[in-house]
Symmetry: C2
Subunit: 257 residues, 2 copies
DNA sequence: TAGTGGTCTAGACCACTAG
DNA sequence: TAGTGGTCTAGACCACTAT
């Protein structure tokens, strides 16, 4: 541990920095188990609580994970799903492939979906606002969990006005069929014209952290996607909470006038 | 504290949840000081260490901030700068306003900039890759810190190939003049046609956390923006690290074919 | 059963802020 | 000077994993 002559930093920080340095130097490789807390306390001549606090700092920074009863491990970087505008290409979903699975496969990932809830609910403020209705108005909702390579990476809730859900009965089914909900909506005579995506960053709440199996120190992206018809009427609002270590967003657009 | 009959959750978690509930209920308002650790330990009939751990959990979630010697406070949500595609509108920057300041003003925010470094540097991999050159090739860089309402919110580094920096001398000046660097580049005969933005989420490193004055539990967005000319040649690569609590991204695009 | 990390206590002392 | 949060110790006991 490189303790400078006037190193006034707290012991726990110096221990954390030393471990981080070893990780970055490859001395502890991704997935590898670290020495036990007891061993580290011996090495650094400090109490267990200090080692514990140092490990907490590194967990917060997403460098370590701990498993009770097993040990402490260098975190392996998850594979990110790139989230670009071209995944919305009409040619792709109108041709019949399941949009999520096909898009993931293109990136060499295996995707699946789990329906958490399907039915009517009072519209939450964020959805109501974008649908142009009153908060609390009954809307149809599809709550799903998306998994990549078996790990949950996204909690996605799609909201539809009741009238639209009536006009597009597939939206009330678990399986919306080839091309997904977008294809069914267009078949019912609507046209999807524009998409607006809003992204915010934050730390997960407790339940989100559990549902997404997030390691400590992993932020989430909150993505609000609104799909509009050619006259600017909102057809769908999706609110998704996405594991920050498993996503990257890509946008490509012309310089606006 | 609503301790159910079979509440097996750790005490520190129950304490944290109870405090969170009070914050969400408005019992502790944003900016308000919480009772001292000692007082909370008395209230919850637990040790100081448990209160401390509960507070750590809430800090990680971005709900509390602590100031040594002063106390513990409910975190006030920072005002976010919306980061939309229309801020790149040619009509805006070509008309002479300072792009950053004007855009922030439109949102009721006060923006300013601080130049951290201006000169030549070996191209980092992320920039070189997108500029289509070898990593390590000397490039011109503008490193700036952006402040919103006086708080630093963005560390932005723009990279230019050496030849372009020669052709656009303003890029080597602190002040690029009305309309900023984009205006100067077009005046030199280039044309900005497309923009690609890539966003990733992560926790800040120590230095980033310090430079952006980030409260604990605040993630950062890493934004890589590449600007292309009409023939698809990259003109500028900007790599920005943005405080997660002070930004929201907006994209609006047609459904691609 | 042995070994790991997780929770919790009681208490000493330090660093910073405010009056 | 008094009061705040921060660091650190020593140790007890619990929960989970492996063998």
């Amino acid at each position: 541990m490189s303790t400078g002559p006037t190193d006034a930093r707290p012991l726990q920080v110096r221990v954390a920095d030393d471990i981080r340095a070893k990780i970055e130097a490859g001395e502890y490789a991704p997935g590898q188990q670290l020495p036990t807390y007891d061993a580290l306390a011996d090495t650094y001549l400090c109490s267990l609580a200090v080692v514990r606090k140092a490990a907490d700092l590194l967990k917060q920074q997403g460098l370590l994970i701990t498993v009770q009863g097993k040990g402490t491990f260098v975190r392996e970087r998850a594979r990110a799903r790139r989230h670009g505008t071209d995944r919305y290409s009409r040619s792709r979903w109108s041709s019949g492939s399941a949009i999520l699975v096909a898009e993931a496969a293109r990136q060499g990932l295996e995707a699946s979906q789990l329906m958490r809830f399907l039915g009517t609910t009072p519209a939450p403020a964020a959805a109501a606002e974008r649908l142009g209705i009153e908060t609390g108005t009954p809307v149809h909702v599809r709550r799903r969990t998306t998994l990549i390579d078996g790990r949950p990476n996204q909690l996605a809730d799609s909201y539809y006005e009741a009238a639209l859900a009536e006009a597009v009965p597939a939206l009330k089914e678990e399986d919306t069929g080839p091309g997904g909900g977008f294809a069914r909506i267009e078949e019912a005579g609507y046209r999807l014209a524009r998409i607006r995506e809003e992204i915010a960053l934050r730390m997960p709440t407790g339940p989100e952290s559990a549902a997404l199996q997030l390691p400590e120190g992993t932020p989430v992206a909150e993505l609000v996607r609104t799909v509009y018809d050619p006259r600017g009427r909102p057809l769908e609002v999706m609110i998704a909470v996405i594991a920050g270590d498993m996503v990257a967003f890509d946008y490509d657009f012309p310089v606006p006038d």
